[in-house]
């Protein structure tokens, strides 16, 4: 080295050195990339399996309606309370129930005050207040919601925006309660103003912690700049979805007293959100996507507020329904006419009875139940058909929340499908159009569907959201479809970027650092929890590879077994080093591995481990069911209600559980001695486990 080498050989040396360093570095980068993608896969597969839970829940309710026969009067009462609400709100009643004028704002309140009509100063005050973690008083929230609803009612189903009037239009995707991302968008792009139009493409709520704040801000800007701010409805602006994904929970913690009213109002505001936005007649913005039957003309004409929730129950079986009504009513069942439209069944409009018939006959009870539900639906349908008077607002009990449960007339069915497709569909690379079984609603649409659609309506381009993308955005279908997702770090810090799109400019990106290992940690934690939740099934699978009962299996068989149980489609061999700590000569002692997993999860030592496993597996469904039972949204359910729910649920899911098991569980939770369970605490007890360092 040094002075003795000629320049040529030195250059040759550094050349070789450079090659080595580059080779070595590129390997390092490839590893990181693989880790990043695996982590992504984990999150996605778990999220989609969560959405499948939603489907299971619906099947559960169908089961309750169709097949379950209660074994005691208590059970009967319980179920009937779940299904019968008899609540219907007319305009005036809504105002009265959710009135805000009687709510006093105490002197001690230091948050922002709103007065109507709103002015830009109010918006600034709100932004500042929320940045300082203050809350808006319930009175102002309700007032805002009333005004928003009034405004939204006069908007068409499809908003039209023209870039002649405002210099730029910015489109934002899913926010999911992540207020910081909204702030960042405003910071980078500017606040809405007469020269700066915004379109917010749905999914403002659920999952993130500040859904309410986001709605308040968006609605405020909507009212201040009605020509420049446009909101599209997303699939999460839907009562059934809110029950599951946290919006409802968030509201009840904010205000025990007024949470109920606020929630009711939201139901009646969400259904009035427009379904789509059209820019310059060229770019269509919808939340989910389209299908091969999407019809913009129909979408423009339907009464969008009818769809408080678009999620539906499975169709009840033909045979089980008709005879029952006959028997109870003594009237003959109406047939279908030539066009396939069902003639309105001739049931008399009796006032709903809130009490189940006092008979010990199970079968009669089921019939009564079915009939009452059917009656409700028909009543509502009848009311909707009155075209002269102002359409009445109807809210059902959260379970029977829509109009099309049973062979409705075909236009209703079609309308519903139009809305469902718009809110829930996803693009796919293959041609064609097929049912979106993963989400349980909407469809997958191919590039040919897009092309035909754009052609039919002379459009250039589709913008949609609904799917989280690692870079915050993604083009597909020959760059004719753009997915924009604005909630960054959706799964965990660093999991993805958020993005917003500016019409006439190339897509911007909000850059946020991706800290791979932290995201990984979170993904693997979630994965370990899933594994734990399937302990029994895993043991059975492992044993099938361990014929000689040695307690060990090969790592290869481990991977195959795990996939056969969890069915997440993950690259288990790549993930193994993070999940399996130690092996002996290439073999895994599976029982002790599972015990290790359990140690991480268990918080309540004395609860039967199989029970814990079951709860973990069904936690999100249980949570949703609880919230439905807690009809006054007080956060409390009685011990009996809990027991009943659990029994029903476990019998449907074929879970074996003794009464003792349930009692043990309840006893281990602190509940006030008046027999009520604060179920938030109950669920927290399991959530807390996740936060412990593993």
């Amino acid at each position: 080295l040094g002075t003795l080498s000629s320049p040529n050989s030195l250059r040759g040396l550094t050349f070789k050195a450079a090659v080595l360093i580059q080779q070595w570095y590129r390997r390092h980068v490839a590893r990181l990339e693989m880790r990043r993608r695996c982590t992504w896969r984990i999150f996605q597969s778990i999220e989609y399996s969560c959405e499948q839970d939603q489907i299971k829940l619906h099947n559960f309710f169908s089961y309750l309606m169709d097949q379950f026969t209660p074994s005691s009067s208590k059970e009967r009462d319980f179920i009937s309370r779940m299904f019968i609400s008899g609540e219907s709100y007319k305009e005036a009643e809504l105002e009265k129930y959710c009135d805000y004028e009687s709510i006093e704002v105490p002197d001690s309140y230091t948050g922002p005050h709103l007065s109507f009509p709103l002015l830009p100063d109010h918006a600034t005050a709100l932004l500042e207040a929320f940045q300082q973690k203050q809350q808006l008083h319930a009175r102002y929230v309700l007032n805002l919601l009333h005004e928003t609803r009034k405004h939204l009612k006069q908007l068409p189903n499809i908003s039209h925006v023209s870039t002649c009037y405002s210099e730029e239009v910015t489109v934002c995707g899913d926010l999911h309660g992540q207020l910081d991302d909204l702030f960042l968008i405003f910071y980078k792009n500017g606040l809405p103003s007469p020269s700066k139009s915004y379109v917010f493409n749905g999914d403002f709520v659920d999952r993130g912690k500040q859904s309410l704040e986001i709605l308040v801000i968006l609605f405020t800007f909507l009212l201040i700049y009605p020509k420049e701010v446009h909101l599209n409805r997303g699939n999460h602006e839907d009562h059934m979805v809110n029950l599951r994904y946290g919006f409802c929970a968030g509201l009840s913690t904010i205000s025990r007293v007024h949470g109920k009213k606020i929630l009711r109002m939201f139901q009646n505001v969400f259904c009035w959100l427009p379904l789509a936005t059209l820019i310059d007649q060229k770019v269509l913005i919808i939340h989910g996507g389209i299908s091969d039957t999407t019809d913009l003309e129909m979408l423009e004409k339907i009464q969008r507020d009818k769809f408080i929730s678009v999620l539906r129950l499975k169709k009840r079986k033909e045979s089980s329904r008709k005879p029952q009504i006959e028997a109870v009513n003594g009237e003959s069942e109406a047939g279908t006419d030539a066009a396939g439209n069902e003639a309105a069944p001739r049931l008399s409009l009796q006032p709903q009875s809130a009490q189940a018939p006092n008979t010990a006959n199970r079968l009669e009870f089921s019939r009564w139940l079915r009939q009452t539900v059917q009656e409700q639906i028909d009543t509502c349908r009848r009311l909707m058909d009155i075209s002269e008077s102002e359409p009445e607002e109807l809210t059902y009990s959260s379970v029977v929340s829509l109009k099309d449960v049973d062979e409705p007339c075909w236009t209703r069915q079609e309308e519903w499908k139009q809305v469902l497709d718009i809110l829930w569909s996803d693009p796919m690379p293959q041609e064609g159009c097929r049912e979106n079984k993963v989400r349980g609603g909407g469809c997958y649409f191919g590039p040919d569907v897009t092309e035909k659609f754009l052609d039919k309506y002379s459009l250039q381009f589709l913008i949609r959201s609904h799917e989280c993308k690692q870079e915050g955005y993604e083009f597909c279908h020959n760059r004719k479809v753009l997915t924009i997702f604005s909630a960054s770090n959706y799964y965990e810090i660093g999991s993805n970027r958020g993005a917003y799109y500016q019409a006439n400019k190339t897509a911007h990106m909000l850059t946020m650092t991706q800290r791979i290992s932290r995201v990984e940690e979170s993904a693997f934690r979630a994965l370990r929890e899933k594994l734990f939740a399937h302990t029994s099934a895993l043991i059975t699978a492992f044993r099938s590879y361990d014929g000689d009962n040695t307690g060990k299996i090969t790592l290869s068989n481990w991977a195959t077994a795990v996939e056969s149980v969890l069915r997440l489609g993950l690259p288990w061999r790549m993930l193994r080093p993070q999940l399996v700590r130690s092996t002996e000569d290439g073999m895994l002692e599976y029982k002790s591995w599972l015990d290790d997993l359990a140690m991480e999860q268990r918080s309540q030592e004395h609860i039967q481990s199989s029970l814990l496993e079951v709860i973990y597996r069904n936690r999100s469904n249980l949570e949703t069911i609880f919230r439905i039972i807690d009809r006054d949204h007080s956060g409390l359910i009685s011990f009996e209600e809990f027991q009943q729910t659990w029994k029903l649920f476990s019998s449907h899911m074929n879970i074996e559980l003794t009464d003792d098991g349930i009692n043990d569980l309840v006893r281990s939770i602190d509940f006030n001695k008046d027999g009520n369970i604060d179920f938030n605490e109950f669920l927290e007890a399991f959530r807390l486990v996740k936060q412990r360092p593993s």
Binding site: T14, A17, L20, Q23, W24, Y25, S556, M574
Partner: protein, 167 residues
């Protein structure tokens, strides 16, 4: 003899499963094809240290005219690579010597300018993006130099946490 063969068959089966898993992570459309430009990444994540020329050579054997690579072709070629243990890891001391060769004054660090010059002009040149990415992590922001011993250790430690490939 038969035992050995059975063992080898089992080994091959396992290798094929690993290769398929890695491939599928990059298979965006779940149709058993990946973009040819990601092949280098996949090969490297399976434990190999090829240089760019070697990646291109491999790619040439299996790339379709439309730039995509099919799983079956990749599987065929990659299984051989792994069985033959090609593209072995670069030993730590070799990397150290490589850095030292770029450190003209032997002071334990390389300046940003020198680093950029060597890595973007010599060898299998870094792209602008690759260079920037490396600098972000590798450079000591106060002195704008790369202390290569620390850097190398840091990267090695990170790597051993994950995906060790055991044949």
């Amino acid at each position: 003899m038969a035992e050995q063969e059975k063992g080898r068959d089992g080994l091959i089966a396992e290798i094929e499963k690993k290769i398929t898993e890695a491939f599928e992570v990059f298979d965006r459309e779940s149709n058993k094809t990946v973009d040819g430009r990601e092949i280098g990444c996949i090969i490297r994540s399976l434990g190999c240290f090829p240089n760019e020329a070697e990646v291109q050579e491999l790619l040439a054997k299996i790339e379709e005219p439309d730039g995509f690579v099919h799983l079956e072709n990749f599987l065929r070629v990659m299984t051989e690579v792994l069985l033959d243990r090609r593209f072995q890891p670069i030993p730590e001391d070799v990397i150290l010597h490589a850095f030292e060769a770029l450190d003209e004054n032997k002071c334990g660090y390389i300046t940003k300018e020198d680093l950029v010059k060597h890595l973007t002009e010599e060898g299998e040149r870094f792209t602008q993006e690759e260079m920037e990415d490396m600098l972000v992590v590798a450079l000591d922001p106060e002195t704008n130099t790369l202390h290569y011993r620390d850097y190398r250790t840091k990267l090695v430690v990170d790597e051993t946490k994950i995906f060790p490939f055991n044949v």
